[in-house]
């Protein structure tokens, strides 16, 4: 979709500052010099077209009590669809990308406990028959930039 200048201003503003007040859209309208109806119509359009993936709270998975990791495995070209279907079937798998490396399938996994993490990886190994899975939980986070959405709400 084409974004006009007010769409862009709105997106810039709400990426970091959606007001936590009873009438947040009216507040945004005042800031941007338009009406609440206009803001609501624009947001609806931006959400429906997929420009906005989620509006509202982006949670910190660790603070919520979840455990996460980044995993990678080597999948033969002819098995990519089938293996991706197994991996993607877990709701805690939020991102899965093919990358140009012998370890070609990279996914993030978020689950309620460390035990669940191990159990899920074991099940993936069993169902795909691929034993060699790199399991790379973050030991330290130096930066998560808030105005890019690439996995920031995953914190795996």
């Amino acid at each position: 979709m084409t974004l006009d200048s007010l769409d862009k201003q709105l997106l810039n503003l709400i990426q970091s500052h959606l007001p936590i007040v009873p009438e947040p859209y009216r507040k945004l309208a005042e800031t941007l010099g338009t009406t609440e109806e206009d803001i609501l119509a624009r947001l609806k359009r931006l959400i429906e077209s997929g420009v906005i993936r989620r509006l509202g709270a982006i949670f910190d998975s660790r603070q919520v009590g979840y455990s996460g990791t980044l995993c990678a495995l080597k999948v033969p070209a002819e098995r990519i669809k089938e293996v991706a279907a197994v991996i993607n079937s877990f709701p805690g798998v939020t991102h899965n990308y093919l990358r140009d490396h012998p370890y070609n399938m990279w996914f993030t996994l978020l689950v309620e406990s460390p035990a669940r993490l191990e159990a899920t990886l074991e099940e993936i190994k069993k169902r795909t028959g691929i034993e060699d899975i790199l399991h790379l939980p973050a030991s330290r986070i130096f930066k998560i930039r808030v105005n890019f959405d690439l996995g920031e709400d995953e914190n795996a």
Partner: protein
């Protein structure tokens, strides 16, 4: 620790803020609490870091940041902190994490995500990071296909 009510609030909030004049009131009514109670809870979550950000998650591809790469670095253990902090200061770096190396197959222990207009941009950014840090052993991993991308839903599995 999160209470049962906290979890219910998280479940409700992660469905997205309703597009109505008083969205917190609409959610609060479903939760059986008052608008003020919900607003106070959201403020509290934001202050405690349970909510990292209250705003919009935007698909950056649609905003002109068309290329990104995962750049992985082999950093001597004793330099991890210094190099991690340095790379984090670059605007083009959105994420910078330390992760365990798994030698010999996987020697890399520092992960960054870099953003540019083109893949060539990303290579140049990585080269700049390498010069700035003195870390010569690194690799760019471009994504060639997105197999899944979804927002996490907490407390929905039983």
């Amino acid at each position: 620790m999160l209470s049962q009510l906290d979890k219910e609030i998280i479940r409700a909030l992660q469905e997205g803020l309703p597009l109505v004049s008083r969205p917190f009131l609409a959610l609060a009514e479903k939760l059986g609490i008052t608008e003020d109670e919900l607003l106070a809870k959201v403020q509290d979550f934001a202050e405690r870091g349970v909510i990292r950000r209250f705003g919009a998650a935007v698909r950056h591809q649609d905003l002109g940041f068309v290329s990104n790469a995962m750049v992985v670095w082999q950093v001597p253990e004793e330099r991890i902190e210094e190099v991690g902090r340095l790379m984090a200061t670059f605007d083009e770096v959105s994420h910078c994490y330390q992760r365990p190396a798994r030698p010999p197959d996987w020697p890399y222990n520092l992960f960054t995500v870099v953003h540019g207009q083109t893949p060539e941009d990303c290579r140049e950014i990585a080269a700049r990071l390498s010069r700035a840090s003195g870390i010569a052993s690194y690799r760019l991993l471009f994504s060639v296909a997105e197999l899944k991308k979804s927002s996490m839903k907490y407390f929905v599995e039983k």
